[in-house]
Protein backbone atom coordinates (compact mmCIF):
# COMPACT_ATOMS: atom_id res chain seq x y z
CA UNK A 1 0.00 0.00 0.00
CA UNK A 2 1.46 3.31 -1.04
CA UNK A 3 1.87 5.65 1.94
CA UNK A 4 1.98 8.86 -0.11
CA UNK A 5 -0.13 9.46 -3.22
CA UNK A 6 0.12 12.13 -5.87
CA UNK A 7 -3.10 12.37 -7.86
CA UNK A 8 -1.63 13.60 -11.15
CA UNK A 9 1.21 11.96 -13.05
CA UNK A 10 1.56 15.06 -15.18
CA UNK A 11 0.41 18.67 -15.28
CA UNK A 12 0.84 21.34 -17.94
CA UNK A 13 0.41 25.05 -17.31
CA UNK A 14 1.22 28.24 -19.22
CA UNK A 15 4.00 30.54 -18.16
CA UNK A 16 2.73 32.97 -15.53
CA UNK A 17 -0.05 30.69 -14.24
CA UNK A 18 -0.19 29.08 -10.81
CA UNK A 19 0.56 25.36 -10.87
CA UNK A 20 -1.15 23.28 -8.16
CA UNK A 21 0.22 19.85 -7.32
CA UNK A 22 -1.78 17.65 -4.97
CA UNK A 23 -0.69 15.00 -2.49
CA UNK A 24 -2.41 12.79 0.08
CA UNK A 25 -1.10 10.38 2.70
CA UNK A 26 -2.24 7.37 4.70
CA UNK A 27 -0.52 7.51 8.06
CA UNK A 28 -1.93 10.15 10.40
CA UNK A 29 1.28 9.91 12.45
CA UNK A 30 3.31 11.55 9.67
CA UNK A 31 4.45 14.98 10.81
CA UNK A 32 7.00 16.18 8.27
CA UNK A 33 6.22 16.75 4.59
CA UNK A 34 8.97 17.83 2.19
CA UNK A 35 8.60 18.43 -1.52
CA UNK A 36 11.55 17.44 -3.69
CA UNK A 37 12.18 18.69 -7.22
CA UNK A 38 13.91 16.52 -9.83
CA UNK A 39 15.25 17.63 -13.22
CA UNK A 40 16.03 15.03 -15.93
CA UNK A 41 19.37 13.32 -15.34
CA UNK A 42 19.66 14.62 -11.78
CA UNK A 43 18.73 13.39 -8.34
CA UNK A 44 15.85 14.99 -6.42
CA UNK A 45 16.60 18.12 -4.38
CA UNK A 46 14.65 19.54 -1.45
CA UNK A 47 12.44 22.43 -2.53
CA UNK A 48 10.30 23.27 0.51
CA UNK A 49 8.95 21.44 3.56
CA UNK A 50 6.22 21.79 6.18
CA UNK A 51 5.59 20.31 9.61
CA UNK A 52 2.13 19.15 10.64
CA UNK A 53 1.80 21.90 13.26
CA UNK A 54 1.48 24.45 10.42
CA UNK A 55 -1.14 24.78 7.72
CA UNK A 56 0.89 26.91 5.35
CA UNK A 57 4.54 27.38 4.41
CA UNK A 58 5.73 29.94 1.90
CA UNK A 59 9.11 30.35 0.24
CA UNK A 60 9.19 32.82 -2.61
CA UNK A 61 6.91 31.57 -5.40
CA UNK A 62 6.39 28.20 -3.68
CA UNK A 63 3.69 27.61 -1.06
CA UNK A 64 2.56 24.44 0.69
CA UNK A 65 -1.04 24.28 1.96
CA UNK A 66 -1.55 21.52 4.52
CA UNK A 67 -4.83 20.00 5.76
CA UNK A 68 -4.21 17.62 8.65
CA UNK A 69 -7.84 16.61 9.06
CA UNK A 70 -8.17 15.60 5.41
CA UNK A 71 -4.63 14.16 5.27
CA UNK A 72 -3.72 16.08 2.17
CA UNK A 73 -1.46 18.89 1.06
CA UNK A 74 -0.74 20.83 -2.08
CA UNK A 75 2.20 22.68 -3.57
CA UNK A 76 1.36 25.94 -5.32
CA UNK A 77 3.88 27.42 -7.73
CA UNK A 78 2.96 31.03 -8.44
CA UNK A 79 3.96 32.74 -11.69
CA UNK A 80 5.25 29.46 -13.17
CA UNK A 81 8.35 29.69 -15.35
CA UNK A 82 9.64 27.26 -18.02
CA UNK A 83 12.59 26.62 -15.69
CA UNK A 84 10.13 25.14 -13.16
CA UNK A 85 9.48 22.25 -15.55
CA UNK A 86 10.53 19.20 -13.53
CA UNK A 87 9.10 16.26 -11.60
CA UNK A 88 7.87 17.14 -8.10
CA UNK A 89 7.79 14.54 -5.37
CA UNK A 90 5.70 14.83 -2.25
CA UNK A 91 7.15 12.91 0.70
CA UNK A 92 6.26 12.21 4.33
CA UNK A 93 7.89 10.92 7.47
CA UNK A 94 7.18 10.51 11.14
CA UNK A 95 9.90 12.40 12.91
CA UNK A 96 13.27 10.96 12.09
CA UNK A 97 11.97 7.72 10.59
CA UNK A 98 11.91 6.56 6.98
CA UNK A 99 10.93 9.08 4.32
CA UNK A 100 8.15 7.83 2.02
CA UNK A 101 7.89 9.35 -1.45
CA UNK A 102 4.94 9.69 -3.79
CA UNK A 103 5.34 8.71 -7.42
CA UNK A 104 5.82 12.29 -8.59
CA UNK A 105 4.02 14.80 -10.78
CA UNK A 106 5.75 15.88 -13.96
CA UNK A 107 5.15 19.60 -14.43
CA UNK A 108 5.55 21.21 -17.83
CA UNK A 109 5.40 24.99 -18.07
CA UNK A 110 4.72 26.13 -21.64
CA UNK A 111 6.09 29.53 -22.69
Amino acid sequence: QQQVRQSSQSLTVWEGETAILNCSYENSAFDYFPWYQQFPGEGPALLIAIRSVSDKKEDGRFTIFFNKREKNLSLHIKDSQPGDSATYFCAASRGYNVLYFGSGTKLTVEP
Binding site: Y32, G43, R94, G95, Y96
Partner: protein, 114 residues
Protein backbone atom coordinates in the same frame (compact mmCIF):
# COMPACT_ATOMS: atom_id res chain seq x y z
CA UNK B 1 33.12 20.62 -4.56
CA UNK B 2 30.82 19.14 -1.92
CA UNK B 3 28.19 16.80 -3.22
CA UNK B 4 27.10 13.20 -3.70
CA UNK B 5 28.90 11.36 -6.50
CA UNK B 6 27.83 8.11 -8.16
CA UNK B 7 29.57 5.82 -10.63
CA UNK B 8 28.85 4.56 -13.20
CA UNK B 9 26.15 6.73 -14.81
CA UNK B 10 24.80 3.77 -16.81
CA UNK B 11 25.26 0.03 -16.78
CA UNK B 12 23.87 -2.60 -19.13
CA UNK B 13 24.22 -6.25 -18.18
CA UNK B 14 22.75 -9.70 -18.70
CA UNK B 15 20.49 -11.63 -16.34
CA UNK B 16 22.49 -13.50 -13.72
CA UNK B 17 25.53 -11.21 -13.70
CA UNK B 18 26.88 -9.40 -10.65
CA UNK B 19 27.06 -5.60 -10.62
CA UNK B 20 28.42 -3.04 -8.22
CA UNK B 21 27.66 0.67 -7.94
CA UNK B 22 29.69 3.24 -6.07
CA UNK B 23 28.64 6.25 -4.06
CA UNK B 24 30.72 8.86 -2.27
CA UNK B 25 29.64 11.98 -0.40
CA UNK B 26 31.90 14.91 0.45
CA UNK B 27 29.34 16.71 2.63
CA UNK B 28 30.58 15.31 5.91
CA UNK B 29 27.22 13.66 6.57
CA UNK B 30 26.72 10.78 9.00
CA UNK B 31 23.96 8.94 7.11
CA UNK B 32 23.76 7.53 3.59
CA UNK B 33 20.92 5.85 1.69
CA UNK B 34 20.22 3.83 -1.41
CA UNK B 35 16.91 4.33 -3.22
CA UNK B 36 15.46 2.53 -6.23
CA UNK B 37 13.53 4.64 -8.73
CA UNK B 38 11.42 2.49 -11.04
CA UNK B 39 10.15 3.22 -14.53
CA UNK B 40 7.14 5.04 -13.06
CA UNK B 41 9.49 7.31 -11.11
CA UNK B 42 8.44 5.83 -7.75
CA UNK B 43 11.25 6.23 -5.20
CA UNK B 44 11.63 3.44 -2.65
CA UNK B 45 14.22 3.29 0.08
CA UNK B 46 16.42 0.23 0.07
CA UNK B 47 19.04 0.83 2.75
CA UNK B 48 20.15 3.43 5.26
CA UNK B 49 23.60 3.51 6.84
CA UNK B 50 24.39 5.58 9.90
CA UNK B 51 27.97 5.48 11.12
CA UNK B 52 28.50 2.20 9.22
CA UNK B 53 25.53 0.54 10.90
CA UNK B 54 22.68 -0.70 8.72
CA UNK B 55 19.56 0.97 10.02
CA UNK B 56 16.80 0.19 7.54
CA UNK B 57 16.33 -2.65 5.08
CA UNK B 58 12.90 -2.43 3.52
CA UNK B 59 12.23 -6.03 2.39
CA UNK B 60 14.88 -5.84 -0.29
CA UNK B 61 15.78 -9.15 -1.97
CA UNK B 62 18.89 -10.83 -0.57
CA UNK B 63 20.76 -10.46 -3.84
CA UNK B 64 21.19 -6.78 -2.92
CA UNK B 65 23.84 -5.88 -0.37
CA UNK B 66 25.21 -2.51 0.74
CA UNK B 67 28.93 -2.15 1.43
CA UNK B 68 30.54 0.67 3.35
CA UNK B 69 34.22 1.29 4.09
CA UNK B 70 33.62 4.56 5.96
CA UNK B 71 30.83 7.06 6.48
CA UNK B 72 31.62 8.85 3.20
CA UNK B 73 31.21 5.76 1.00
CA UNK B 74 28.27 3.44 0.47
CA UNK B 75 28.38 0.97 -2.41
CA UNK B 76 25.62 -1.30 -3.66
CA UNK B 77 26.23 -4.82 -4.92
CA UNK B 78 23.66 -6.91 -6.76
CA UNK B 79 24.44 -10.61 -7.10
CA UNK B 80 22.75 -12.33 -10.01
CA UNK B 81 20.65 -9.48 -11.43
CA UNK B 82 17.09 -10.08 -12.65
CA UNK B 83 15.02 -8.14 -15.23
CA UNK B 84 12.97 -6.41 -12.51
CA UNK B 85 16.19 -4.85 -11.19
CA UNK B 86 16.23 -2.50 -14.20
CA UNK B 87 15.82 0.94 -12.62
CA UNK B 88 17.69 4.04 -11.57
CA UNK B 89 19.55 3.61 -8.30
CA UNK B 90 19.93 6.82 -6.32
CA UNK B 91 22.36 7.36 -3.50
CA UNK B 92 21.69 10.09 -0.93
CA UNK B 93 23.17 11.42 2.28
CA UNK B 94 21.93 13.50 5.21
CA UNK B 95 23.36 15.07 8.31
CA UNK B 96 21.41 12.73 10.56
CA UNK B 97 19.19 9.70 10.29
CA UNK B 98 15.63 9.96 9.02
CA UNK B 99 13.20 11.84 6.85
CA UNK B 100 13.24 15.10 8.78
CA UNK B 101 16.85 15.72 7.73
CA UNK B 102 17.31 17.15 4.23
CA UNK B 103 18.54 14.43 1.90
CA UNK B 104 21.09 15.23 -0.78
CA UNK B 105 20.92 12.96 -3.81
CA UNK B 106 23.46 11.91 -6.38
CA UNK B 107 22.57 11.86 -10.10
CA UNK B 108 21.81 8.14 -10.09
CA UNK B 109 23.02 5.00 -11.85
CA UNK B 110 20.69 3.65 -14.53
CA UNK B 111 20.77 -0.15 -14.68
CA UNK B 112 19.39 -2.06 -17.64
CA UNK B 113 19.14 -5.83 -17.37
CA UNK B 114 18.76 -7.65 -20.70
Amino acid sequence: ETAVFQTPNYHVTQVGNEVSFNCKQTLGHDTMYWYKQDSKKLLKIMFSYNNKQLIVNETVPRRFSPQSSDKAHLNLRIKSVEPEDSAVYLCASSLGLGGAYEQYFGPGTRLTVL
